[in-house]
Structure formats: C-alpha cells, structure tokens
Amino acid sequence: MEKASSRLRVLALLVALMFIALSTRLWFLQVLATQRFNKEAINNSARLVYSDPLRGQIYDAQGRTLVVNQESLEVRITPDQLGDKGEAVVGRVAELADVPIRDIVSKLQDQRFLPSQAIPVAEFVPKEVGFFIAEHRDQFPGVEVVPTAVRSYPFGRLAAHVLGWTGLIDAAQYADLQKQGYGPNDIVGKSGLEAVYEQYLRGERGKQKLIVNADGETIQALGKIEPTPGDDLQLSLDARVQRLAEKALAEGMVRARSYHDAIGNSLRANAGAVVVLDANTGGVVAMASNPGFDPSWYVHGLTPQQNKYLNTNVNVGASNNRATQLSYTPGSTFKPITGLAAVKEGFASLSGSYPCEGEYTHPNDTSGTKFYNWTSVNLGYMSIARALEVSCDTVFDAFGSDFYFKWAQNPLGDNGDLLERDLHEWGFESPTGVDLSSETQGLVPDPGWAATRPDLFDNGAWIPGGDILTMIGSGYVQVTPLQLAQAYAAIANGGHLCRPHIADQIVAPDGSVAKRIEDHCDHTIPYTPQQLSYIRSALRSVVASGTAQCAFAGFPTSQIAVAGKTGTAERDSSKQDTSWFASMVGPDPEHPAYVIVTMVEQGGFGGQTAAPITRQVIDALYPNVTDASRPSCITEDR
C-alpha cells in the first residue's frame, strides 16, 4: 500500500485546500467585513413605526373654530410600487373610489413628489373600498387605504388665504425637514398660517420600535411613545368681521361692475382685498382676498380645473392673498405719507399753502413733460390738509421736484434718494413680517433701481418724474394693502409702526398658553404727534367734505369718527384703475381703534368702489351703531 499512501496524501492535500478556502472566506466575512453585515442585520429586523399626531386646531379671537380635524379614509398610491400593471391598477382605484382616472394620473405624475412617496389620491372613501382593496391585495400593488385625520373648515371659504392649506410634503421640503424627524408621507402646512406655524401645529410623532421577522410579523414591541398633539392657534382675527368684510368686498365688486370707466367700458373689478388692523397692536381683525376658494379643495386634492383657477389664471390665480402676496400702485392713498416726508425734509410746512394748478412742469424742464391734476381748473393756493381733502396732485408734484433737486446734491451719497429713505421708515419695500407665507415687499423706485431698468429709464438715469410720481403714489411705486394698513396704523396710533400679526397666542393641548405672539410696535416713525394729528384731521375732512364725501353720506361720524384717503391708481393702458380707500375709524377721533384698507383691482375711483366697501366694513365693526343711509353719489377723483 505504499503507492496508495502517497495518493492518499494527494486526497488529504485537496481536503486541506478546501479548509483553507473556507477559513479564508470566513475570515473575510466575519472579521474584515462584519460591520457592514452587522448593520444589514440590524436594518433587517428593527423597524421604527411612527404614528401621526393630531394637528393643532385654529380658533378666531372669540374662540370660534376655523380649522378642525376630520377623520378620513384615504387611498394612497406609491408610484414606485405599482409595477408594470400600473395603468390597470389606477383604473381599478379610480372606479372603486369614484375619482376620474386623469385626476389620479396627474397627481401621481406631479413632479414635486418622489415616486417613492405614498401619494393621497382619494379622501373620505367608504369603508367598503378599504375592505375590498385589503381582500384583493394582488390586484392593488402599491395601493394602501389609511385612516387619517384631514383638515376640515366649518366656515367653508372663510379666510381661506389666511388659514392656508396643508398637503403631502414635497421632495424639496422633505430634503429640508427630514432632519427634524419628518417622514416622506407626512402632511405639512403649505401656505398661510398652516405653513408659518407648522412647528407648533404639527405636534410630535409617536414612535415605537418593533422587532419583526422575515414575514414582517411583529415579534416584540419596545418602548412605545404616544404622539403629542399639536398646539392650537388662537387668532386676533374675528370670524364675524372677516365674514362681513368678505361679503362687503364681494358685493362692492359686483356693484363696481355696473359702473363704467372713462372710455365707457364696464369696470372689471376682478379682484380685491380688505385689511382690518387693530391700530394700536397690529393685530389683524380681518383680511379678505377676492377671488377666494374653498381650502377643502386641497384636502381632496386639486382637480386640473381647480389648479388652473387657483394658480394659473390670467389675472393672477385665486390662491394669491391680495393683501400680502401681490403689490399695487397705491395712488393718492400715498399722499398723507409723502406729504409728511416733504414736511420732514423742509419742502413743505403744515402751515403753508401751495398752488394747485391744472398742470405741473418740473422747473427748467424743457422736454415738455407735463403732470396733470385730475381737473384742469386752477384751484389756487391751498394747505396740505386741503390738498389731501381734494386730492390735488400738482401740490405734491412740486414737492417731488424738491426731492429731485435734493437728490441731485447727493446728500446721502451712493446715489441715495431721500424720498425712498423716508418711505422705508414707514415700512415700504420690506415685508411687514406678518405671520403669513410668501409675503411680497413691493417697490419704492430709486436711482439705483432705475439704473437696472434702462427699459424704463433712458440710460438708466434717474429723472425728476421718478420722485414726482412717487410723491402722488403713481408711477412705479408698489405697495401691498397690508403695508399701507401698517403705515396708516402708525398715523392712527401716534407713530408706532406695528408688525401685523394674525395669530394671538399658541395654546398647548392642555389649554395653557404655550406662546403669546407679542405685539411689535417698538419701531417709530420720525413725526411729531402734532404732525400726525394734523393728517388725521385732514383725512376726516376727506370723509366729511372731500373725495369720500359721497361714499359716507349720512354716516353717523359723530359716533364713529372716520378718517380716510381715496386712491385711484392708473395702471398700464390695458387695465382699469385700481380703487383704494385707506382709513382709520373709532369712537375717539384722536385715537382711532382700527385701520381699514380696501383695494379693488380695476375698480375705478377710490370714492366709487373702495370707500363704500369700507363703509360696510365699518358697519360690521360697530354693529350697535345705526348706519341707515347708503352712499349717495360718486366722487370722481384721481
């Protein structure tokens, strides 16, 4: 057997090689690469299961519920999991949930979401739909029916722009919020208060660690943390005033459409806004924006028609809050503010008098540019108060020239414009900081801005007309109704520029106040109480005997003092004038309680459309004051 023993050695050698191969591989798997496998093993078995908290509710100043939660059975589809029979699955879901197929398809194809997200496609489906889908899992890959709480609005369309809406977190938001513990299928505030107070309203997710086996069955449940409901929001907004302001605005717009513009076309009055501020705190009592919408559309998911109406309408979609998200030429409502600026800079005096001619030419201007008053009649010399009362443009035009000359001396350096600086003190060209999303800042034109717009200014050079037009609230200056309201509130309260706010306090689930939204009125405007009082008095004359006289005919101003300024702002030739009325009201003429700013796009004269709407809002604010009369005539002003 000598031969055999050497051959057995060959066999033994082969066996030894086997052991070497196995040991080497085991060394690699279990020693060198063990961390990776260990992580995978943990991922395999440990699952965190989250439970959604109940979102906080929203109440008005009187405790009326504006936004509540409602239970809904929701159908969600995860596009990634649909497989190759996606069309058939969507078809089945559409039929079952009674939703048009193309609505579902457009939701699933929405680029804002990731295909790995479970996208809600139908709300409030009957229980039977849930049972059917559960029983026919193989026919519905990627489809789940989930009981959930969705937003519900007891007052329907009321204050929709302010309340905002919620929706499925989109891919961009998820990238931001993931670190704060948000999941890919979370509902978040998208707009309005819902977006701004997201961190309070949301609450905290509950979570539980589960150990699951290969079939997904739970073997062990560890450390359950119940979800914490979100905080509630109590607003300074009053639902009653809000409702009546919305009604007044809508009715006023309808009325306006029966009037004609200068060339005989019916006014379009396609949109408008009303802002009611507490003059002393900046608390928003009402904020109406028309056209409106029903926020529950967002709960059900927008249909293509709704989406078009809200977002892509030619007149700028209905989802825009016209009080904060769009800016407009303020027209003559700007004059009290620019007039004060002229006084501050020494171009005008409250005791002086100034010529109100039919037309105005900048001194030494040979270009032939003329600025016309609303009437060609020379009204003679008048005080600032009278100029406000009759809304004389040419008085203010001359102050504009003074601002231009001052700019030419360049006292601020860096090409700075004095008028712009003075207007910044009133908060223009900056967001007010109101607790709403996507606020726009408007525009105060200045030499620096002109340099960037050679399409509007020859060689981008600043011209006298820049200051002259801003002076009368015309040209390129743009403000939001809320900015104007904030400025008027400063006139009303003696010089405090208060940051407007809609929420008053944040209330914890146990009823305690978690956070009070403090008033921010520290910022003051550089005018004396006497100067502001002078303006208030002048604006009362506007109502008593000026451009708003007709609109307030018969109003019991002895009980409720009303001071205001009409505005009729020209837009480009294709659009009709913007109708404005900015006002302050209250029993004490020297201490107005509220500021009301009304704006109607393509609404004609301020005294014609905006002022009567404001009157209706004042009636709403003071239900115990009898205002039996109606506007008696139409004042034409500019």
Binding site: M1, V10, L11, A12, L14, V15, L26, F37, N44, S45
Partner: protein, 382 residues
C-alpha cells in the same frame, strides 16, 4: 496475565478492541452540535405556530439514535462482505433510483419541481443518498481487482460507465447537489487508485463540456439555472435569487469574531434565512458563535476527515482503502459545497451538511458511512 501466546494474539486482534473511538466521538460531537444549532434555527418558528419548540430537535435526535443503530450494525458487519455483494447493492440502488421516478411510487415535493424520495408513512427516504454508498462499494470492488500498477484507460471507462448511470438518474430528478457529490466521489477514488494526471485532466475537460451541454440543451430546471447564473454573475442576479444568499451572508457576516451568543442571532431567530434548518444550518453557527465558532466546527470536520483518510491508509486491503477514501471524499465534498454555498463561494445547489442538517436520510447515510469506516478500522488486523 497467564495466557497462551496464540490465543492472546488472536484476542488482541479481535475487531471490538480496535474501534476508532476518536472518530466515534467526533461523529457524536457533530451530531450534538447539530441538535443545538437546529434548536436555535427552529424553536421560534415552531413556537409561533403554536407547536412544541423541540419538535424538530426530538425528531432529529430520534434519527441520530437510529443512525447509531445503523452505525453499530454496519461496523459489526465485515466490510469485505460488501465486496462480495457489490453488484447486487449497486443494481439495487439503481432500481430504487428508477422507481422513485415513477409517479405513485416516488413522492414529489410540494412545489412539484423535483421527485426525489419515497414516503413511508411520515418518513421520507431519499434513494440518491444511499446510492452514493452503493456506488462507493461498487467502484471499490472494481478498483481493488485491478492488477496493473495503475488503472488502464479501459478500467477508467468502465468506472465512469458505472458512475454515469446513477449520476444521470440523480441529475434527472433533478438533484444537482447529489450529482456533484457522486462526481467528487469518483474523482477522489480515482486519485487514490493512482489514475494518471493526464487521464484526470481529460476527465475534467469532458466533465466541463458535458456541463456546458446540459445548460445548452435546457435539461436543467429554470430555478437551477437562475441559481447558477446568480452565483456566476452576482451583481446582476434578480432580487429573489439573491435573497437566499444575501440573508445567509448577513447572518454569517454579522456574527463577527465571537458571535451574538447562542439563541441571540437575529437573522436566525427572526427567520430571515430560508431553509436554515436544512441546507443553511451552518449560518446558525456563523451568526451565534462567530468566526471562532465556525472555525471550531470546521476543525471537527477536519478531524473527521483526517480519521477517515487515516483509516483508508491503515486498511488491511485495497478494497478497504478505496471504500474509506470514497467515504472521505463524500464527506469532504458535502462539507465543502454546503459551507461554500452558505458563505458565497459555491453556487446554491441544495446539499446537506453531514451530521448537522435536518433530514433523515442524510443522517442515516452519514452514520452508515462512519459504520463502514469503523468496520474497516476494526478489521485492519484480521
């Protein structure tokens, strides 16, 4: 002791005095380790189904007991007896392989893909396992009759012919794992028989060509092809096919150096590794006892193979040497292919790990193999 010299000499040569106790200890050691691993692999699932967590362990323990009886019987029988009846044993095993293919006699697994066993009451008997031993005996009988210093080409062809019949029958079942086992046994025995390297190389080449042909003609099932493709092209394998291997690698890899501790393996306890109690039993050792445990288990197999090859070397006659070498080859290839597939260096073929995998026939055949080794060891002086 006052004894007659011749008598004393005869007594010293009595087979019972030459049992290889170490081999026996290793065999029992592996079996007991197997029971512990099996408990870990099955107790949670059984508990979940509301069954006694020891159900599988008791059944396996019973099989091991039966295996011990088989071992004792096989070792009591003089192995040379098998040489006499080698032809009958061989033909009998072929008959069983044919019968198992006949519907109504052979049983099919629930998926209907393979027809591999006879069902006697609740017991499944897999003839392909027994046919390995039958083939070893047959080949050993033929090889031991060769009088030339090394097998001639004619001998080689004869050997291959004998092996080809069961190999093809097993392959058609289809049972690729056992086919590989049979091929390895033949190669192992041919090496020991002194086959020239040239012939072995030609044989390997023919084997490779045949495997290629099998793939081309589609004689194997789709799932087997998928498994092999998955092995050869891992990154592109489908998720389903990869799952088994992935979970197996995670289990072994996450065990680390010292393991997660007995009954603490998450992959094991939570049922992530498919077929864990049968073909993938090694993952339990890998996950719960780590690298050190896995190496210890390999060491037990190394000892077993060392004793087997030692018996081949010590055997009194060429038949014993060949039988022992065949059995050693059988254990070696099963161990290597099984653990190799678990840790991803061999394709997944469905081959049990001797003494550890749950399953009656595999245990009984392994014990029978040890019994034959003992028989050869015990009778090396008689």
């Amino acid at each position: 002791m006052d004894v007659v010299a011749g008598r004393a000499f005869a007594d010293e040569r009595r087979p019972i005095r030459h049992v290889d106790w170490l081999l026996l200890t290793i065999t029992l050691g592996l079996s007991v380790v197997g029971l512990f691993l099996l408990y870990s692999a099955t107790n949670q699932t059984l508990r979940q189904d509301g069954l006694d967590p020891f159900t599988r362990v008791s059944k396996q323990a019973f099989t091991i007991g039966l295996g011990l009886v088989v071992l004792i019987v096989m070792s009591s029988v003089d192995y040379r007896f098998f040489k006499v009846y080698a032809g009958f044993i061989y033909l009998g095993s072929l008959l069983a392989l044919v019968l198992v293919r006949i519907p109504g006699i052979g049983a099919t697994d629930t998926t209907g893909t393979a027809q591999r066993w006879f069902a006697f009451g609740g017991v499944q008997i897999t003839p392909s396992e027994f046919c390995k031993l039958a083939l070893i005996v047959m080949l050993a009988a033929v090889l031991s009759e060769i009088r030339t210093p090394e097998p001639t080409l004619a001998d080689l062809v004869k050997m291959l012919g004998l092996a080809a019949v069961p190999l093809v029958l097993v392959f058609l079942q289809p049972d690729i794992g056992t086919s590989i086992g049979i091929a390895a046994i033949v190669v192992g025995m041919l090496i020991v028989a002194g086959t020239r390297l040239k012939h072995l190389l030609i044989l390997s080449a023919v084997g490779v060509v045949l495997i290629g042909l099998v793939f081309q003609t589609g004689a194997i099932e789709d799932y087997q092809r998928a498994r092999l493709v998955a092995f050869l092209d891992q990154p592109n394998a489908s998720a389903d096919v990869r799952y088994n291997l992935d979970q197996s690698l995670i289990a072994v890899g996450s065990g680390g150096l010292t393991g997660k501790g007995y009954l603490n393996g998450t992959q094991t306890n939570l049922d992530y590794v498919p077929e864990q109690h049968t073909d993938f039993i090694f993952t339990v050792a890998g996950e719960e006892f780590g690298f050190l445990g896995a190496i210890a288990l390999l060491a037990l197999f190394a000892l077993l193979l060392w004793r087997s090859i030692r018996i081949a070397w010590m055997a009194k006659d060429p038949f014993g040497t060949y039988v022992a070498a065949g059995i050693a080859s059988m254990f070696a290839i099963q161990m290597f292919v099984n653990i190799g597939m678990v840790i991803g260096i061999m394709p997944i073929t469905g081959i049990p790990l001797p003494f550890l995998s749950y399953g009656g026939t595999s245990i009984l055949v392994s014990f029978a193999g040890i019994g034959m080794l003992e028989s050869i060891h015990m009778r090396r002086f008689t």
